[in-house]
Structures are given as structure tokens and as C-alpha cells.
Amino acid sequence: MSDLNVAIVIKLEPDFSEGNVSYNPDGTLNRAETKNTLGPHSAIAAHAAFYSKVMYDAKISIGTMGPPIADSSLQMAQRICDAEELHLYSDRIFAGADTLATAEVLKTGIEKMQGKIDIVFAGHRASDGETGQTGPQTAWKLGFTFLGNVIDYKVDLKERTVIAKRMVSLQGFNDIVEEIEAPLPVFISVDPAYKANFNTVLQRLSLEKYKKEAKIRSDNYKHYLKVFNAQQLGVDLKFVGLLGSPTIVYKVERIPKGKATRQAEILDGSNQEDLRKAVAKMKEALSAMVIK
């Protein structure tokens, strides 16, 4: 038995990098033609969990909700963090879930993992639309303390607490690093700026040892994999999938052209009329709505 049981929730996402992504003529993502990969933020979460393995010899379980092919994301995450247990929650009824309904599945899955989970790690957000709600919503359903934007953490195994550093970035304020202490269990959403610090030779050597183990395990990931459908998971069908989703996507449309295509209009800096025109354009740019 390990002193620390950690879980990671991850997501299989389209690979948006040029050369792998494909778009339909209407601008929507061509999912069939686009390769899938472990979401970059999920990968960061896996790295954060791996820190617990190296430092505290934690047992790691990974869970994901998705189609059967999402097992590849579990393998990729296992390759990063040397997990002992892989969960795939896969059922057609889960399809179309919004964040609330996804959180319900993940919460139920985490409760089925081996050992009592002390820390759950999740990515900051997904790159294909989900904007970082699933993590905190799962946390709340689990009754775990939620810590967001975590850039560093350590665990006090004796006190059963976590001390985490989180990044607070607010419009118009300098960034703040907040150090926060919380009793286990906690749910950590990992900031993209997270970087594990292994400061001694011994830690680094043990890191290498686990990395090697991770490679061996992930080459043989099916051995660690458990697949659950809705029934096996024991979720209430009213709270998952489309039925359990308060929100719907009503429509998708093109954003009216916001960005100028950078074809410079060349104006003469010594001509007052030209400068007037320049300022007018600047004014127009500033008055229009921001599309980020």
C-alpha cells in the first residue's frame, strides 16, 4: 500500500498542430481527418502527478472519458507518469456531455479507483473547447478542496496536507504567487507554467528509474487498463451525457471578420491627410470589439 494515492483526469484531443489538423470548408474542425493526441494540458497534469511518484512513491491512477480509441491517451499519459491503473469511461450514452455531466462521470470513476484518492490532477483546460470547468466541477462533486493554477506543490505525508503555489493573474494587477495549504484530499488543476523541481542528484536518479519503468509499463498498457460503461460505472443516467447536460450548443457561426489581413496600406508620414487617415484607422481598430 502506498502512502499517497493520486489520480489524473485527462482528455484525448485533436492535435491542432499544423501538419496534423484538418478543417472543413465551413471552418469547423474535420475530426475524422485530424489526428488525436493526449491534450497538452493533460500531459502537464501527468507530469505533475509524476512528481508525486518520484518524491513520495505515490500510486497513480489515470481516468478519462471518451470513445474506445481514447485508450491511446491513457497510454501516452502513462508513458509520462508511470501509472499503475488506467480507467477508460466509455459509453455511447456519455457522448455529448457538457462539463457538468462529464464531471459526474469522472467523479464516479475516481471513486472506483484503487485506494482512497488523496490528490486528483487535471489539466488547466482542454484545447478543443472545454475551458477548464470540468476540473473544478469534478472537485466539487467529490467534495475535494479545489486548487487552481497550481505551478508547484509538495505533500506533507505526516500532516496529510498539501502546500501548493498557485498563480493568480488578474487583469490590471501584477501576477501573484500564492502559497496555500490544504488538508488532503485536494483536486489540483495544473497551470501551464507548472514545472517539477527535482533538486538533488538522488531525486534525479530516481526520476530516471521511474521514467524507464513508465516506458516499460506503457509499452504494455493494456495490462493496466480497465474499461467501464455506464452500467459498470454505476452512474445515474439522468446525470450523464446529453440528459445530464444543462447547456447545449445552439449554433456555430463564423465570427465576422475581425483581424485585418495584414496587407499594409502605405501612407506618407509627411502628408497630413495621410496621417489623418492613419489615426482614423487606429480609432476604428480601438472602438471595435475584441475577439481573442
Partner: protein, 392 residues
């Protein structure tokens, strides 16, 4: 359930170091506009309710009224001085469901939950909105940059059992999609299908900072300011903030809609030219950035100017910051790739440069040909004349 169960638009205000985070006022502005037209359209009298949590925040309440809130509900406790997810979530969801409170806002015996709810899409609101909405058992759309309220006829397999149903007073929440080309409109709808009937209110979203305009403050506005006395679970208080450390004392490009940057083009008279750039930035209410080579101190300038501008924090580019202001003015910057990477996402780019062949020409929307010494003074005059309304 009756429509009266849900009333008002609640806005969760954020305060940091006794100051209002600007997005809070932006949300109030949009809330004001939406509720004004809502009340007109539906001949009702719903309110914009600001929820404010913190410590020694009473004075801020008046400001929120000036910026468009009808009612303030605040909870003041040293435990709430800084955001902690658990006690913030509980306090806000209690406020949102407190019937006594709602009776003070407007007498309505039926109030159960807010009709709409706004949060900021930032490192507090994004997570807070998520947990509050689980606590309130409703839906949430994140990172919204456009909102409308309308009556929509919906046919949905689950929500309406495939039959057309008109949803009144529905908040259409527009989210710019991952591709950057698409807008996804998200609705939070009650299940009207008799078999799975279930209400989902409030309809809520988090809002991207910097999108909406605050209204002009009106000192004459008045409204009730109600204190809510929260109670805390002792176990929740075991989550402690041990320290808070400001990490960037430097340059805050994100709070400015405009950034003016200068590069090697200042070389003929560095000191004077930087003054010109300062002037331009001041007129545009812009932050000042530099292109890469500047930070290597290739020019002789006074220590004063050097320590202010020739610092890595100001560098925009591959090894510096990546920014996307609405307006970017590149002064005397040739447009090397190292720099372009840091600014190409700007909405509108103006370059001032004597050399029409410099690569920046292909990276900008307006290319003003000329030496900065000649162009900037005239440009500043022109900006003043057209009184370019720019706010930070």
C-alpha cells in the same frame, strides 16, 4: 416551474488589494445594458445584483452602484480577504439562494435562484463559476465575449422531447471557438421533456476581461447595500493562504489596449527619440514595449531611461513577451522574425518606418513611411485632434 422562481442578474465582483478588478465593472456595464432592455421588453423590474466578497470592502459598494449595479450584497470577513474556492463557493451559492435576501431585493415570495449570473473568466472567476454552478446545479458557459437575451424556439431531442418549445428570456452566450474563426452560441436550458423535467437556472457564464465597456459612472445612482453574514465550516478554514508574493513588478501589457514599441530606429538620437515614443504612448494611453536588440543596451542612454526601457520584461518577441493588444504601434522596428512572433496576434498594427523595404511592412495594417522624428509629433497632434478615446 414559474418564471418568477428565477429573477435578476447576479454579477460576482472581484476585488484585489482593495481595488476592483476592471472586468467587474465591464460585467456590470454589460449587465446594465442587458437588464435595461430586458425590463423594457418584458415590462418587468429585474435588477442587476452585485455580489461582493472580501474584507473592509464597504466603500467599494458605492462605486459598484455608480457603475450600474442596482443592489449590492456583500459579505465582509477577514476570512474572505482573499479568494479561497471552498468558502467563496459556499458563500456565493448561499447568497444566490437566500430567500430573505431576495425579499429585500424585490418582494417576491417565489424566488429560488438568480435568473442569470456573471463571473469573470480569469484565475479566480473561471474556477469559482464552475464550482458555484455545481453547487447551484446548473450550467455554465466559459470565456464569453458576446451576450444577447431573446425568446428562442427550440426543438431538441432531450430538452423538449423533440417538440418545438419557446424558451423565453434565454441568454445567448457567444464563445469564440478554438479555431479562432467560429463563434459557438451556448444556451443553458431547462429540461422541458416531461420524462426528465428539470430546471437549470441560473443561466451563467464567465466573461473575457477587456471585452465589454463599463458604463460612465453616475454618482447620482442609489441602491440598497445589503450585508450578508456568512457562516464558515471549520473544516473549510483548514485551507490556509500562507503567503502572497507579487512576482512581476514590471510591465503590464495586458491592461492596455494599445502598445507602442520602439526598436533600433531610435539610434540617431536615442534619448530624444525615446521621449517622442513616450509622448506618443501617453497620447494613446499605451504601454511601451521594445524589440529585442534594445535590451542588449546597444545605445548610449542615461541610466534613468535605460533601467526603465532596456529591460527584458519589456521585450516583445520570441525570448520575451507575446502580446495581442487591440492596437500595436511599431516605431523604428524593422520586423525581424524574433520580434514579429511576439506581436503578430495584435488586432491592428501600425508601423512607422522610413524604409519601405523593411519586413515589418508585411506584418502591419498601416505602414507610415517616414522617420519617427518627423512623423510622431504630427501624429500626436492628429490623435489629439481626433481625440482618440482610449481607455486602459
Amino acid at each position: 416551474m414559474s418564471d418568477n422562481n428565477y429573477q435578476h442578474l447576479y454579477v460576482v465582483i472581484e476585488v484585489q488589494d482593495d481595488k476592483i478588478v476592471p472586468v467587474s465593472l465591464e460585467m456590470l456595464g454589460e449587465a446594465r445594458r442587458l437588464i435595461d432592455s430586458f425590463n423594457k421588453k418584458y415590462q418587468s423590474n429585474e435588477k442587476v445584483v452585485a455580489i461582493l466578497l472580501g474584507h473592509n470592502i464597504k466603500e467599494i459598494c458605492n462605486t459598484l452602484i455608480e457603475y450600474g449595479a442596482d443592489v449590492i450584497v456583500y459579505a465582509d470577513s477577514h476570512e474572505l480577504k482573499n479568494y479561497r474556492n471552498n468558502i467563496y463557493t459556499k458563500t456565493i451559492s448561499q447568497i444566490a439562494q437566500d430567500e430573505k435576501l431576495s425579499a429585500q431585493i424585490s418582494p417576491s415570495s417565489k424566488f429560488k435562484k438568480p435568473r442569470y449570473m456573471f463571473f469573470a473568466a480569469d484565475s479566480i472567476g473561471r474556477h469559482l463559476s464552475s464550482t458555484v454552478l455545481v453547487a447551484l446545479d446548473s450550467g455554465l458557459a466559459s470565456d464569453i465575449n458576446k451576450l444577447e437575451i431573446s425568446d428562442l424556439k427550440i426543438t431538441h431531442q432531450h430538452k423538449t422531447d423533440g417538440k418545438p418549445v419557446t424558451y423565453e428570456k434565454t441568454l445567448e452566450m457567444y464563445r469564440p471557438d478554438f479555431s479562432g474563426f467560429l463563434w459557438t452560441t451556448i444556451l443553458c436550458l431547462d429540461n422541458k421533456n416531461p420524462q426528465i423535467e428539470r430546471d437549470y437556472h441560473p443561466q451563467s457564464c464567465s466573461i473575457i476581461p477587456g471585452v465589454f465597456e463599463p458604463i460612465a459612472p453616475d454618482k447620482g445612482r442609489k441602491g440598497p447595500i445589503i450585508e450578508y453574514m456568512p457562516t464558515f465550516d471549520q473544516n473549510d478554514l483548514r485551507v490556509k493562504i500562507l503567503s502572497r508574493q507579487v512576482i512581476r513588478s514590471g510591465v503590464d501589457f495586458d491592461s492596455y489596449k494599445t502598445v507602442v514599441s520602439f526598436g533600433r530606429g531610435i539610434k540617431d538620437a536615442p534619448e530624444q527619440n525615446i521621449k517622442l515614443v513616450e509622448q506618443l504612448a501617453k497620447t494613446l494611453n499605451a504601454e511601451i514595449g521594445v524589440s529585442l536588440p534594445i535590451s542588449k543596451k546597444p545605445f548610449v542612454v542615461s541610466e534613468n531611461v535605460s533601467s526603465k526601457y532596456m529591460i527584458s520584461d519589456r521585450v516583445i518577441g520570441t525570448s520575451g513577451r507575446r502580446i495581442s493588444p487591440m492596437l500595436y504601434v511599431a516605431v523604428g522596428i524593422s520586423g525581424a522574425m524574433q520580434h514579429v512572433v511576439g506581436m503578430q496576434d495584435s488586432r491592428f498594427i501600425v508601423a512607422i518606418n522610413p524604409d519601405e523595404n523593411s519586413p515589418i511592412k508585411d506584418e502591419c495594417d498601416v505602414f507610415i513611411k517616414g522617420r519617427m522624428e518627423d512623423v510622431i509629433p504630427k501624429l500626436v497632434e492628429e490623435i489629439k485632434q481626433q481625440s482618440l478615446a482610449v481607455n486602459a
